[in-house]
């Protein structure tokens, strides 16, 4: 049963008007009548009828003009206008349509046809109504969605902001809403001055893809700041994502650990496209291949944290990309693919232009811009050339302990699995006076620890590292020997004493390495070698004092501070 409509009848002929009005009323509608176009427009404005029956030729204002005005007032709403006419010339009918008419009714009127036309127009009218309502609803939902994304992005930016993506040795390209494509780019300084960089790509799109980014970023920044290693961070992120993400949601990622001091990069790639190590001389492109499942897939026990180590020269660049580049699709359904990417690499002359050239190649390939591309490039620079903010602390800063000593001995099994540095650093940074030196303290402890572990406990020969082959061999031996480690130890003796002006920390590091048979001079020489080049210089430069005790067992370093400094 059609709804009761309010119908405007504009007809200058009184008899016809009366007839129509009666027919329309008998059909259950409400009729409004006007005897010329001007009256019709006024009545429409006042009563807003849903349908109009309009005579074409009328005095004062004709039906064409009235129809135009009514259509304009109706706006987006469909107010069907049926022209009442015995006009037979095609041209006149065209004028009716051009003025906004939707249908015609010829005289003499036929009740059955009129009723059918009113019903048909009412269906159209309601369809348009539904379309408009749904359009508004969709627009509203979309507005909600964008607003939610803005809020989510603002929160996320706060979390991600603690990073160092702005460092001068990092170049990156990400669409502003990359987060909602599932792309994630994080970079942070380690306490030692090195850098962790993570490029991640969550499965899916929109909020579900973005939701895992928050905990991942928290773990990444929190653990990096506390001095945890690449493998520990990977394990924690994997375990956390595995625990909280639904099945089928995971994160393809590459994590880089760059040491400017040692000039190496550690790379772990789980599921991202090959990254590349681009040599400064342009001679070589070393692929950084995915060797693992993405983060959040495997249970902690099955997770593999094995990473690869590459030596870097000044100016070498590590380039990572998300699959948006390779999977860009043109109108023929072809993928951009690695071959085209390599052509861009080969043609590149100015490193600074690489990103622009990749984008241009994508544009040429697709014919339109690609907006889900994430690119990042990290360069090896001189140590110390990057300025960085102070370490961030999570402690309350109260009840700072001042007078204590403690000794730790980490033995075989522990050395294989556990990195004692974050633990020691957290303990020492409870001392408020040491916090301004946190970075230096960490660097010195890290250097002394790796020296004790690699040379003392594992007996590795650092002279191996003089060329690229030896370099790889060195790290191969390191992991083999570490895996087989049963005995041996590294000891940390920490002594903290208050002084009148502040306080002093003495750290003595010993290891189970051999060759301490009182040959002090030889020993001394050996140690200098063992702390190969930059390492020793670093320890000396960063600590206040650095000594080798008489008995030759271990190294001793001191840090002091002034109260209130």
């Amino acid at each position: 049963m059609p709804a009761r409509l309010s119908i405007l009848i504009a007809e200058d002929n009184a008899a016809d008007r009366m007839l129509l009005s009666t027919i329309v009323s008998r059909q259950g509608h409400r009729s409004l009548t006007a005897s010329n176009g001007m009256e019709a427009v006024a009545l429409f404005e006042q009563e807003r009828p849903q349908l109009v029956l309009m005579d074409a030729l009328m005095p004062v204002m004709d039906g064409f003009e009235a129809a135009r005005r009514i259509k304009q007032m109706a706006g987006e709403e469909l107010v069907p206008i049926i022209f009442l006419t015995s006009l037979t010339e095609g041209e006149a009918l065209v004028r009716c349509l051009e003025a906004g008419g939707d249908d015609f009714l010829a005289k003499p009127y036929n009740r059955v046809i009129l009723e059918a036309k009113i019903n048909a127009m009412d269906r159209l009218r309601r369809l348009q109504d539904t379309v408009l309502q749904q359009r508004d609803l969709i627009a509203q939902h979309n507005e909600y969605l964008l607003n939610e994304q803005r809020v989510a992005k603002a929160v996320f930016d706060k979390v991600a902001h603690s990073g160092c993506l702005a460092a001068p040795n990092i170049r990156y390209l990400q669409s502003p809403y990359a987060l909602f494509n599932g792309d994630l780019l994080l970079a942070a300084f380690k306490p030692s001055g090195g850098m962790h960089v993570l490029l991640g790509d969550f499965t899916g799109h929109g909020l579900p893809a973005a939701i895992g980014a928050m905990p991942l970023a928290e773990v990444f920044y929190g653990m990096t700041a506390k001095g945890y290693s690449l493998t520990e961070i990977l394990r924690e992120i994997n375990a956390k994502l595995k625990r909280i993400l639904p099945l089928g949601v995971f994160c393809c990622a590459t994590l880089l650990n760059i040491s400017f001091q040692r000039r190496v990069v550690e790379v772990w790639n789980g599921g991202l496209p090959d990254g590349y190590l681009l040599r400064a001389n342009g001679a070589e492109r070393v692929p950084l291949v995915s060797r693992h499942l993405p983060l959040g897939v495997l249970a902690p026990a099955a997770f593999n944290d094995r990473y690869e180590v590459f030596p870097l020269e000044l100016g070498d660049r590590v380039f990572l990309l998300s699959d948006g580049v390779l999977e860009a699709c043109n109108q023929q359904g072809e993928l951009f693919g690695e071959r085209r990417l390599h052509r861009v690499f080969s043609a590149n002359r100015q490193p600074a232009q690489l990103f622009a050239e990749i984008q241009q190649a994508l544009l040429n390939f697709r014919g339109e811009l690609q907006d889900d591309v994430s690119l990042v490039e990290v360069s090896m620079v001189e140590e110390g050339s990057l300025s960085r903010g102070p370490l961030v602390f999570t402690g309350s800063g109260q009840n700072s302990p001042l007078d204590w000593s403690a000794s730790f001995e980490f033995r075989g099994e522990t050395l294989r699995r556990f990195n004692p540095l974050p633990f020691l650093l957290q303990l020492l940074l409870e001392v408020e006076g040491l916090r301004p030196q946190g970075g230096a303290l960490y660097s010195v402890l890290a250097e002394l620890y790796s020296n004790a572990l690699e040379h003392g406990v594992l007996g590795l020969d650092s002279s191996l590292k003089c060329d690229a082959e030896g370099f790889a061999e060195y790290y191969l031996q390191r992991s083999t020997r570490l895996a087989q480690l049963r005995e041996g130890y590294v000891r940390f003796h920490l002594q903290l004493v208050p002084e009148s002006t502040g306080g002093r920390l003495t750290v003595r590091v010993e290891d189970s390495g051999s060759g301490f048979d009182g040959q002090a001079i030889v020993e001394q020489q050996l140690r200098v070698d063992r702390l190969c080049g930059r390492g020793l210089a670093l320890v000396r430069q960063l600590s206040e004092r650095c000594t080798w005790p008489e008995d030759g067992r271990g190294v001793s370093v001191e840090f002091s501070w002034l109260a209130g400094a």
Binding site: D12, N13, A14, A15, D16, M18, L19, T22, I23, R26, D55, L57, P59, L84, S86, K107, P108, Y109, R111
Partner: protein
Amino acid sequence: MSDIHLDSAVLAALQDVMEDEYPVLLDTYLADSEERLRLLRQAMREADAQGLRLAAHSFKGSCSNMGAPMLASLCKQLEEVGRRELLAEAPELIEQIEREFAIVRILFKSERQRYRT
């Protein structure tokens, strides 16, 4: 009664639609038609082809609705004359229209009478 002047089938349908309002419709038509005739004469006097056309068009519409086919047909011819601005042919046609309307008027009056009783 001849259906050339007034179509009885149309009248039956009108009566069915209008019910009690049927006589009012007839009165309205007759009054409106007098007005159209006045406008036709005026337009002719003033040699207003467009006015002639509009009045003839409107008159034609109500005649066809009210079941006066002969009168509607004459109005249509006059409308055409107005459209083509052949004013010389108008007086003859108007005279025919007046004659035909006189007949239709009488027929409607009797229809009105018949309905009342």
